[in-house]
C-alpha cells in the first residue's frame, strides 16, 4: 500500500466515506423502486442502478477499510449516525414520486462523475485506479438520467410540471453535495483530491443547465455556503437515522455473523 501522510489519513478516509455513503444511500433509495417502477424498463433500470451504486460503495468502503482497519460491512452498517459523511440529497425519501427519484439522480450523477474524475487523478494510486473503473460504469447512468429529463420535460404538460416541481424542490439541498469534508483543503493541496471545488461546482452547474435547457426545464442553484454544517461533517437530516434503522435491522442482530 502506498504511503499516506499520517495526519491526512483520517480526512482521506472521510473523503472516501463521503463518496461511499452517497452511493450506499442513493442505491438504497433506488432499490426501493424494485417491483414498483412506473414501467418495466425503469423497474429493471432502478434495480440495476441500485446494484451499481451498492457495488461501487462496497469497493470504496473496502479501500477506506485498508486505511481505517474496519471491514466494508462495519463501515456500511456499523457506524453511528454522526460518523456518516453523505449529503442530505441522498437521505430524503422520494415518497415514491418517480419525478423526485429522477431529479435526485440528475443532481447526484453529474456530481458523482465529476468527483470520480478528480479521484482518477489522485496521487493515491489504489483510488485513481478504482475511480477509472467506476467512472466507465457511471457513464451509462448519466446517459440514462439525461435522456429521461428530455423525455419528461418535453413530454406532456403533466410530466413537465411534475419533473419541474421535483427539480425545484431538490435544487434547494443539492448544492450541499459540495460541502467539503474536514481538512479537504489539505487533501487537495497534497494531490490526494486534485482539482478545485469552485471549478467543479461551475462545471456541475453548466452540465445541469445544459441538460435542463434541452428539456425545457430549469433549476435555481445557489453555491454552497461554507458556514452551513451538513452531512459531510456529520450533521444529518432525520431521514438518515430512519433509513439506517431499516437497512441495519438484520446486521445489528449479529454484527459479527459471516455471510
Amino acid at each position: 500500500m502506498p504511503d499516506l501522510p499520517e495526519h491526512l489519513t483520517k480526512p482521506f478516509v472521510n473523503l472516501l466515506l463521503a463518496a461511499a455513503d452517497d452511493k450506499l444511500f442513493l442505491g438504497h433509495r433506488n432499490s426501493e423502486w424494485t417491483g414498483l417502477g412506473p414501467i418495466l424498463e425503469e423497474d429493471i433500470a432502478f434495480s440495476a442502478l441500485a446494484q451499481d451504486e451498492m457495488a461501487h460503495a462496497s469497493a470504496l468502503y473496502e479501500l477506506a477499510g485498508t486505511l481505517d482497519g474496519r471491514s466494508a460491512d462495519q463501515l456500511a452498517f456499523g457506524r453511528k449516525g454522526a460518523e456518516y459523511r453523505c449529503a442530505a440529497i441522498v437521505e430524503v425519501p422520494d415518497e415514491f414520486d418517480w419525478a423526485t427519484a429522477m431529479a435526485r439522480r440528475l443532481f447526484c450523477n453529474h456530481f458523482d462523475v465529476l468527483r470520480l474524475e478528480r479521484f482518477s487523478h489522485s496521487a493515491y494510486k489504489p483510488l485513481s485506479h478504482l475511480a477509472r473503473r467506476l467512472a466507465a460504469e457511471q457513464q451509462a447512468h448519466v446517459q440514462h438520467v439525461d435522456d429521461w429529463m428530455v423525455r419528461l420535460g418535453t413530454g406532456t404538460p403533466e410530466s413537465h410540471r411534475r419533473i419541474q416541481q421535483a427539480i425545484a424542490a431538490l435544487a434547494r439541498i443539492a448544492p450541499q453535495l459540495f460541502e467539503p469534508v474536514e481538512s479537504q483543503d489539505q487533501l487537495v493541496a497534497a494531490g490526494l483530491y486534485p482539482g478545485r471545488d469552485q471549478e467543479m461546482y461551475g462545471q456541475w452547474c453548466r452540465e445541469i443547465e445544459h441538460v435542463l435547457g434541452r428539456a425545457h426545464l430549469s433549476a435555481h442553484l445557489d453555491a454552497f455556503n461554507p458556514e452551513d454544517r451538513g452531512g459531510r461533517r456529520g450533521v444529518h437530516t432525520v431521514h438518515l437515522a430512519a433509513m439506517l434503522d431499516e437497512m441495519c435491522e438484520v446486521y445489528r442482530l449479529e454484527p459479527d455473523a459471516a455471510w
Partner: protein, 174 residues
Amino acid sequence: MVNRVIDRRSIMDVLRTIPDPEMPISIVDLGLIESVEVAPSGDQSAVRVVALPTFVGCPALDMIRRDIEDRVGALLGVRSVEVQWVNEPPWSVDRISAAGRESLRAHGVTVPDPGGQLAGSGAATVALTVAGAVPCPFCGSIMTRQDSPFGPTRCRMIYYCDACRNSFEHLKRV
C-alpha cells in the same frame, strides 16, 4: 517424495476450462486473466493468478475466485493458489478473444466491436457497416434497437431485432 514442477502453461490450460458463471465463455476468453506467476514453495509450487474484474463488485467474482482456487489447486505440484483482483489495467470488452465473441454470439449475446466495424462471422456476416449499429446475433440484421439500457446483469443491455423479432443481449462498453 515426488518433486513435481508445475508450469504456467498447464495452469492456463486449466483456467481455460473455467466458465464465467453467467455467460457461455471461459474466463480466459473473457480476458479476465492478466498474469499467472509460479514460485517454488518447498518441493511444490505457489501459484498467484492476477485477474481483472469485468464490473466492479460483480457478484460472480467470488465464484470465479473459488473456481480458480479449486481447479488450479487440484493440480499435482500446486501447494497454494492465490487469486488477486486488480483494477489496473482496467478490464474492457476489447479483451474478449475472437473465439469468446463467437461463443457469446452463438448464445445470443453481442459484444461492442472495437473498431466500429461489424464483426460478422459465419451466418451472421453482413456487408454493410453502419456506425453504432448492433447486428443481430441470430439473423445478422442491423435493424435492431436498444430496448433497455439495463439488463439481467450489470454488464448487459437488452436489444431487440425488428427483422427476426428476437430479443438479445449486448454487453455494455467499458
